[in-house]
Amino acid sequence: MNTKRVLSAVLAAVCAASAFAGCSAKKLENSSSDAAAPAESSAASQEGGADTTERVIHHLTVWDDNQNTAAVLNGLTAEYQKDHPGVTIENEKIAQNDLPQKIMILASSNSLPDIFNSDRADTNASLIKSGQIKNASEVLKEAGVESCLPESVYQGLANLQGTDEMWVLPTENNIEAIWYNKKIFEENGVTVPTTWDEFTAVCDTLKNNGVQPIALFAKGKWGATRWIANMTFRRLGVQSIVDINDGVLSMSDPTVVDSAKILQDMNTKGYFGEGVNSVDEDIAYEMMLGGKAAMCYTGSWFTERLEGSDTIGEDMGLMAFPTFPDGKGSAGDYLCHYGLTLCIGAQNYDDALRDWIAYVFPRYGDYALENLGLLTPYTMQEEHETSYYTQLVLDEMQKVTGTGAWLEFKLPQKASSTVEDNVQPLLVSEITPEEYCQICDEAIKTELAKQ
């Protein structure tokens, strides 16, 4: 009986304790130094030349500590700590899909972190309107480091946001183009195409020889809409995508409809292989690395996979999207963007954060390239040795004369989802190109009217 009572009491205590298991404090990811200090800056004090102001910089990110932005900020903060031992960075990782929701929840309770990733222009627009983020160009100017970014980047980011000034900070410098397997091209006797007719001839030859011409990751949807965007701005010029996003150019424009039709025909002809809507980005990259597909349209971030591959060596090449006859766009128009941008929270912005920004961002480019092989638009202070693929991308970037954007780059989220969701039935001919464009048009008009 006593044993039963003791056992009952222990089990009851365990149950009670487990009820509090969910009440843990916010999980601390690896910070670049020891225990976090309070968020408020204490009065600056100097000890042996080092500023001992205590400040924890809260960073909301989609990256692991050893990846991309998180790795760069961690590393540079560690350097900053030599003279500012009281400054630490605390990273909170979140899945990219959950990012817009998390940001809006934090914004509604005025508790946005000091610095955070943001991947949507409409989310940024809400934050700008409500004064929840700082104007990044003004912050850099105030910190005296506005030259850490070239003028073209200020303008580029402002254009992508649809504002007069740059409100967010870039983290990467990406171009998108067609990666191709040089070995497969050689074995099949085809050369790098520059025009659309040459490109389709290459695809036909590869298909006839039993090679899947293109790995298209339509499961993620944006992999397919990129083809429509590229075809459109090759034919109508880069401004056409901006016009679509502003509701000035209709998706039912004959050229846009024809671009959608070409994409559909490419799948019908078998250029994308079987089950295109089941192929996600990882599978497409595996197919490229395994030599199961000859080409893949994706961004310069593919270099990370290439450099991590034991089999591909220097077999991969990079080519521009083909041009169209009589197209208003040029071969120098590339779809470029700046990675997952960073926003600076307005609520806790103070001198300590400004000083940290003044240290970190002029050094961002050098640190990212040297330690991660990551290309960024930040002004470089030093010379660096680059890998084969990084140099390939840098060489391709030299050819950029015009910057295009993706089809849904600043559409309201619902319109953007409509454009992306309906590309899957378009690919497998469940809807016609005209129907696809009409559905997109209606969604764009409806959502833009609400703004």
């Binding site: 809507n277 989220q413 039935p425």
Partner: protein, 295 residues
């Protein structure tokens, strides 16, 4: 015990804590969500009163009604499959198997305890076509039907059926176990008497077993229907609502509207609709139950 149960203060002391928790976790959010239906935007940021606009939008929203239609097709398929196959399996366990009943019951019940996401991922692999054929496409190839191999989850014509099959497979063991326990409660002499009277197998099922299982069948219907009307996790794991919107359910549309499109008011409106829909179907089934006077 009688004295305790007649004491209202004692009843309140036992029931009140649970009711408070229920009210805080269930009732308060429902009322809160209902309040949001007359607003638009993001709470705390740009929330504005819009009156009945969200309801007007709901009735005109083609995407929403497409999701409701998809859901009703899904409910019809899954409920029929789960109840129908559950019954068949129960009859097999009761009358078909001579030995190893416990082992077969355990195997049948095994999918029920697996997480929905794990089952979703398993079926994604089974139905895979790239980078290599999954189990199903490989089997088709082996039996000479390789021409029919396709991305089953990537085409609108087959994606919903795959989702239905996955959910039937997951839960039919649960219903088989429920019906089997119901069959065990049927007196053996009733079945013997029917045999003596010359009733055939199908006649026994139709005139004796099914009527006596009716309360359990009705309960299973309620369980299956409310579960399928609110389905989210298994479809999300399998197709994410795609291809296009072919497998998008109202719950997924609600989640996307509120948390991705940042239209919390309209998302709440959809949530209220789903709640009313579930209540409506539960009411119908309750009416059938009380009509039969079986409870």
């Amino acid at each position: 015990m009688d004295k305790l149960l007649r004491d209202k203060k004692a009843i309140a002391a036992f029931v009140l804590p649970a009711m408070l928790v229920y009210a805080c976790i269930v009732l308060v959010p429902i009322v809160w969500s209902a309040t949001y239906t007359v607003y638009d935007g993001v709470p705390g940021l740009d929330f504005r009163f819009v009156g009945s606009q969200n309801f007007t939008t709901l009735f005109r929203d083609r995407d929403f009604w497409m999701a409701v239609t998809t859901n009703l097709k899904y409910v019809a398929g899954v409920v029929t499959g789960q109840i129908g196959l559950g019954l068949l399996l129960a009859f097999m366990l009761m009358f078909g198997l001579r030995s190893h009943k416990n082992l077969v019951r355990t195997i049948l019940f095994f999918p029920v305890v697996l997480p929905s996401v794990a089952i979703g991922q398993m079926f994604v692999k089974i139905l895979e076509i790239q980078p290599q054929y999954g189990l199903f496409n490989s089997l088709l190839e082996v039996v000479g039907l390789g021409a029919y191999a396709k991305g089953w989850l990537g085409e609108s014509s087959t994606a919903l059926i795959c989702c239905i099959i996955a959910d039937i497979w997951k839960a039919m063991g649960l219903y088989a176990t429920l019906f089997y326990s119901g069959l065990l409660d049927i007196p053996g002499d009733v079945i013997e008497a029917s045999q003596i009277d010359g009733a055939t197998g199908p006649q026994r099922v139709r005139y004796i077993l099914l009527p006596m299982l009716k309360p359990i069948i009705m309960m299973a219907l309620v369980l299956s229907m409310t579960g399928t009307l609110k389905v989210f996790d298994s479809i999300y794991a399998l197709t994410g609502g795609g291809p296009g919107n072919a497998t998008r359910m109202p719950t997924m549309y609600m989640q996307t509207t509120a948390f991705v499109y940042q239209q919390y008011g309209y998302g709440s409106t959809i949530a209220i609709f789903i709640m009313i829909e579930c209540l409506f179907f539960s009411l119908i089934i309750n009416k059938l139950l009380s009509k039969d006077n079986t409870i």
